[in-house]
Amino acid sequence: MSTSMPALDTGLHKTQRQNKWWRRSIRNILLGLYALVTLYPLFWMFMSAFKSNADFFANPFSLPQTWNWSNFVRAWEVSGMGKATMNSLFVTFVSLVLTLFFGALTAYIISRFEFRGRGILYSLLLLGLLIPIHSTLVPLFSMMNMMGIFDTHAALILPYTAFELPIAVFIITAYLANIPKEMEEAALVDGAGYTGIFLRLILPITLPALSTVAILGFLRFWNDFAFALVFINDPSLKTLPLSLSVFADGFTTDYSLTMAALSMASLPTIIVYLMFQEQVMKGMAAGSVKG
């Protein structure tokens, strides 16, 4: 690498190094600006959550005139967010575990085994990426009624998992395609079973891909409105997105309460994202050491 070269302090090298320094600074400034632009909505949401409605409409981009902490209390109480948060956590967690486990297993089998129907299975899964979910509402509703799982958390967990499987299989398969098979073959020679290889080798290796899937899945499950609206009747089973939409009545929207509720609801997603992002990075570090 050029920087580790012995420094022959000639003028030429100095300008080169200065050039490099300039380039890096400009790059970092641009990156920093981009980061600020992407962070702004988060900041804006929290600011708006403190405003009165009049303030929100008059000055959408300025700081709140008065800091209305009561917005949060009212939003929490009116929308019944406490119970809904617990439901969302449960549904999201179970769906996520199922998605990750079955997604990884399917991806492993598809990318490492030859069997009849492999191509068809993979193409059918691809099809799943293309389905606009609103078109499946009525058929799914009728089916769940027949199966007797309507109005239970299973009515959310099962379709969530099923609809997230394609993307999970897709991402993990693509990731596995770049991982050399030698280690698995060695393990096989050592007498490890396929289940063992999957649990002890594949799951850890694919951690970056799994974390990507987990982040996407978490966001999808946590924010889903359509399924949660249609497949759950019992108020005590409702998930968060439903309770967040109570502030719009078709004619008027109470923007400050909506923002307050959304701010509270987005906290878990931010935490989960930061957590899994760390995993993606750790996996990357491990990958480069190993490779």
Binding site: P166, P241, L262, S266, M284
Partner: protein, 291 residues
């Protein structure tokens, strides 16, 4: 073939849960919905079989084609905007310094927020009287560039494509970062010692190594763009006068507002078919490029 039976058992039992879940909750509803597409049905009462009439009507209706055209704008913007930008960011952010981690986390933040927040904030950026964009234009003295960005049908669709690109870069960035991490460092080092420039290394090592991930990203981009719904729904509701109508919003409107369930189902089946064609096309193109 010593362990043929174990192999078969593992493949069979490993795939069973995923296949079952997927078949019941995704495949069946999709075919079911395609079947409704052959019906003249308001979603209530008697359904009448009318053959291909709904499909013919959609394909001869100018709003369907307008929506498709708008969708293709979104597809193009995503494939040629989102993917390269995410790749560029991934290349720039592949080291783990705190600054890079901060930028990485920020790029993903719009995804973490509900599309309601993103939709509202972008509406305010484009708002003609008190919006940020017009404000900046007056500030720098470009008064004549000011515009009602979302009301002008000739530009509204492009204006909406910007937040769509910006919003969904995060997942692609993570996918690319994960893929980049799986490239063995020695390859790059060896090439560098051989005197290959950075650009040269990018095109002859990095890109080929992550080509599968790029393909996956493009498939996801196309399918995601054709399902795009939420942001449009919040920002313009498909208006003015269908200027920003997308296939998914057109389908939703027909199904749940205009009481034409059969027609809406036919449109959603067409969405799936169109996505399939586009994805197949993109795969063929990329295969050729790759050689």
């Amino acid at each position: 073939m010593r362990i043929g039976t174990a192999r078969k058992l593992f493949v069979g039992f490993g795939l069973l849960p995923s296949v079952l879940l997927y078949a019941v909750f995704v495949v069946v509803p999709v075919f079911w919905s395609a079947y409704y597409g052959f019906m003249d049905w308001k979603g209530i009462g008697e359904a009448r079989f009318i053959g291909f009439d709904n499909y013919v009507e959609a394909l001869t209706h100018d709003i369907f084609w307008q929506s498709l055209g708008n969708n293709l704008i979104v597809v193009a913007a995503s494939v040629f905007g989102q993917v390269p930008l995410a790749l560029l960011l991934a290349l720039l952010l592949s080291q783990g310094t705190w600054f890079q981690r901060f930028v990485r986390a920020s790029v993903f933040m719009p995804m973490v927020l509900s599309s309601v927040v993103i939709g509202i904030i972008w509406s305010y950026i484009y708002q003609p009287q008190i919006g940020l964009l017009n404000g900046i234009l007056s500030f720098v003295g470009l008064e004549e560039w000011k515009r009602a960005w979302l009301s002008d049908p000739s530009i509204a669709m492009w204006m909406i494509a910007i937040p769509i690109i910006w919003n969904f870069i995060g997942p692609y960035l993570i996918m690319f970062l994960a893929a980049l991490s799986s490239i063995p460092q020695e390859l790059n080092d060896a090439a560098a010692i051989d005197g290959a420039t950075r650009t040269r290394r990018l095109f002859s090592i990095t890109l080929p190594m992550i080509w599968d991930t790029i393909k996956v990203a493009i498939v996801l981009c196309i399918s995601g763009s054709l399902k795009a719904f939420d942001l449009i729904y919040v920002m313009t509701k498909g208006g003015p006068a269908h200027a920003t109508e997308l296939l998914a919003s057109y389908m939703y409107n027909n199904t749940f507002n205009v009481y034409r369930y059969g027609y809406g189902s036919a449109v959603s089946t067409l969405i799936v078919i169109i996505s399939l064609l586009l994805i197949a096309g993109s795969q063929i193109l990329m295969r050729r490029n790759n050689q």
